[in-house]
Amino acid sequence: MAREAKKKTTTKLIALSSTNKAYEFNKPLEKQIKYQGKVVDIKLHEDPKGFSYIVWKNKKYMLDVIEKKQNRYTIMVNGVWHSFSVETPVSLKRKRYLEQQVDSSAGVSIEAPMPGKIIDILVEEGSEVKEGEPIIILEAMKMQNEISSHISGIVQSVSVKKNESVMKDDILMEIRRA
């Protein structure tokens, strides 16, 4: 009984996007997926040069895995990236439960996308920020780059100072989801 129950829970996988949209797929993921209630053919290909693409509704979509850390993926489709965490129904339930438990006191950290120097900090502790809003100016590659928040929320703490040099992935600030 127990074994059967376990088997059942892993027949489904869910890709949860950074905007909290859930895409559900039934295993095995082979040649068809359910789309708007219908089963649609999907074909994965690799061209001779080593590029991957999907043929979907007679159109070609170029694919690339930009980042992959355990179950977290950033996938580029035709040059536009999308971030997901891949969950099983159990892990998704757990994740949602934990999110409720942890409540809003946990911050999301904003990390330096590249090494550089902090030119300006556009927000301070307690500032309200919107998704996509620039929060820090980082100088790298001879250019001043705006680092923007990927979530909406309140700035909980700022870990860097003006004129400070940072390494890639250094935490710049923590933002509490609103």
Binding site: N78, H82, M114, M141
Partner: protein, 500 residues
């Protein structure tokens, strides 16, 4: 003197571009190897590599180290140095050191570079040549009467700006003469409050101008021609993102007027070599001189496509002392060319640079499509240099056709491994005002609301692919360990292929 060898004091695509022409002309090319990209492609294209990767002075970047470059050029007995763009291209000291060392600098003289680089000297030269300028008061205006007089001279609209300030305070745009007195007192009061200094100065105000520049070629015998214009209005924070030639804003009479003005500017400094005269063009087609760039520009290919003239070759011939092989009436603009800059930038995060390795790059080149690039499979985008991956240049009979071919070429331009501006290019191509040629420098901030093109099913397909990859790996994990390469997992397909 015939040039037999050139040291290219640059890297990336422009180094390769110069090597191509040098090869065509039977000239030996020398390039500089740095520790920052010891495996770069341009090194392999050159005839000889000068190694700067050891014993380098950390306080000065290799391509800015004038004395080391001069010393190397002398040691290897090269005839000439081409500076490319950026780095030392517009540094008068570098040109002067070349002259002193009897090395031909492929560009204008150091005096010309100095005078055009000095904004007030350049403006004075333009004024004396009778070329329209963005006029203004030389310093602070003493009272409303002086403001009225200066504004009357340069024409409305004008802008009053606090001499001590910035950030919009103490700033007033004045469209009509009857407002000047009131606006002057508002501006001075505001400036006094904000900056403790009431001084304001006055400048011509251009609303949402276009950026149009003219390519100049001039020899050392006083012959000067222009090769038409380049439209460079699609910019983000003064960074050009695409350029075209001709400009949708110009007709032949305006082209002649602006072209003549560009030649006048060049003549005022006895210019020689390739150069670019930049103008602002307002919505009423009034143009004014901004500055002259005394180097080859990134966007030079669009001019090459419509004129059929190899600009690098002309720069070399001019540096040898040759006369221009054509006159103005020989210059014909044929069709339409557009250059799309493909940068390693994350458009979805405010165009921030996206470092990493270009795992694979592929495009289709043909009679309409030219690609200038310094990267290939395995090239690394480093934080030390600019983020440009490639310039995709499309040439066709008409603008409409060039746009159509651009869409196709962009869809066939594949890059694996890094985020790029390709989705931005597609978004621009979708914009109806861009398609109509109806845009100016405010295009990105006002017109193009979403900076990347995203089709409805793409998120679903991305989700599917992430899930598919994850599921495959889970299955494989039960039998064998995870396959990773440089910390990045290999897709099951790549792996399958390699195991075959």
């Amino acid at each position: 003197m015939k040039i037999k060898s050139i040291l290219i004091a640059n890297r990336g695509e422009i180094a390769i571009r110069i090597i191509k022409t040098a090869r065509k002309m039977g000239i030996r090319s020398y390039v500089i190897k740095t520790a920052k990209e010891p495996n770069a492609w341009y090194l392999e294209e050159a005839d000889k590599i000068i190694d700067f990767s050891e014993n380098f002075d950390e306080s000065i970047p290799e391509f800015l180290d004038i004395e080391r470059i001069i010393k190397s050029a002398k040691k290897h007995k090269v005839d000439a140095i081409h500076p490319g763009y950026g780095f030392l291209a517009e540094n008068p000291d570098f040109a002067r050191r070349c002259e002193e060392s009897k090395i031909i600098f492929i560009g204008p003289s150091h005096e010309i570079i100095y005078r055009m680089g000095h904004k007030t000297i350049a403006k004075e030269l333009a004024r004396k040549s009778g070329v329209p300028l963005l006029g203004g008061s030389p310093g602070a205006v003493s009272d409303a009467e002086e403001a009225r007089r200066v504004a009357g001279e340069i024409g409305y609209p004008v802008i009053l700006k606090a001499a001590a300030g910035g950030g919009g305070r103490g700033m007033r745009v004045v469209s009509r003469e009857k407002d000047i007195e009131r606006m002057y007192s508002l501006a001075t009061n505001e400036a006094a409050k904000a900056f403790n200094n009431p001084d304001v100065f006055l400048e011509k105000f251009v609303r949402e101008p276009r950026h149009v520049e003219f390519q100049i070629l001039a020899d050392q015998h006083g012959n000067i021609v222009h090769l038409g214009e380049r439209e460079c209005s699609v910019q983000r924070k003064h960074q050009k993102l695409l350029e075209e030639s001709p400009s949708p804003a110009l007709n032949s009479s305006l082209r002649k007027k602006m072209g003549d003005a560009a030649i006048k500017i060049a003549r005022s400094v006895n210019y020689y070599s390739a150069g670019t005269v930049e103008f602002l063009l307002d919505s009423d087609n009034n143009f004014s001189f901004m500055e002259m760039n005394t180097r080859i520009q990134v966007e030079h290919p669009v001019t090459e496509m419509v004129t059929g003239i190899d600009l690098i070759e002309q720069m070399i011939l001019i540096a040898e002392g040759e006369k221009l092989p054509f006159t103005q009436k020989d210059i014909k603009l044929n069709g339409w060319a557009i250059e799309w800059r493909i940068n390693a930038e994350d458009v979805q995060s405010g165009f921030s640079p996206s470092l990493g390795t270009i795992e694979k790059i592929s495009w289709v080149e043909n009679e309409h499509v030219r690609v200038d690039t310094g990267v290939r499979d395995g090239s690394v985008i480093t934080p030390y240099f600019d983020s440009m991956i490639a310039k995709l240049i499309i040439h066709a009979e008409t603008r409409e056709r060039a746009l159509q071919l651009s869409s196709q070429a962009i869809m066939k331009f594949w890059i694996k491994g890094t985020k790029t501006t390709l989705a931005f290019c597609r978004a621009v191509l979708q914009n109806s005002n861009f398609r109509k040629g109806n845009f100016n420098t405010s295009f990105l901030s006002k017109e193009l609301k979403i900076h990347y093109q995203n089709e409805p099913d793409e998120a679903l397909l991305a989700a599917f692919f992430a899930t598919y990859d994850y599921a495959r790996e889970m299955n494989e994990n039960e039998e064998k360990p995870l396959h990773t390469e440089n910390g990045k997992a290999i897709t099951p397909w790549v792996l399958k292929k390699r195991l075959r």
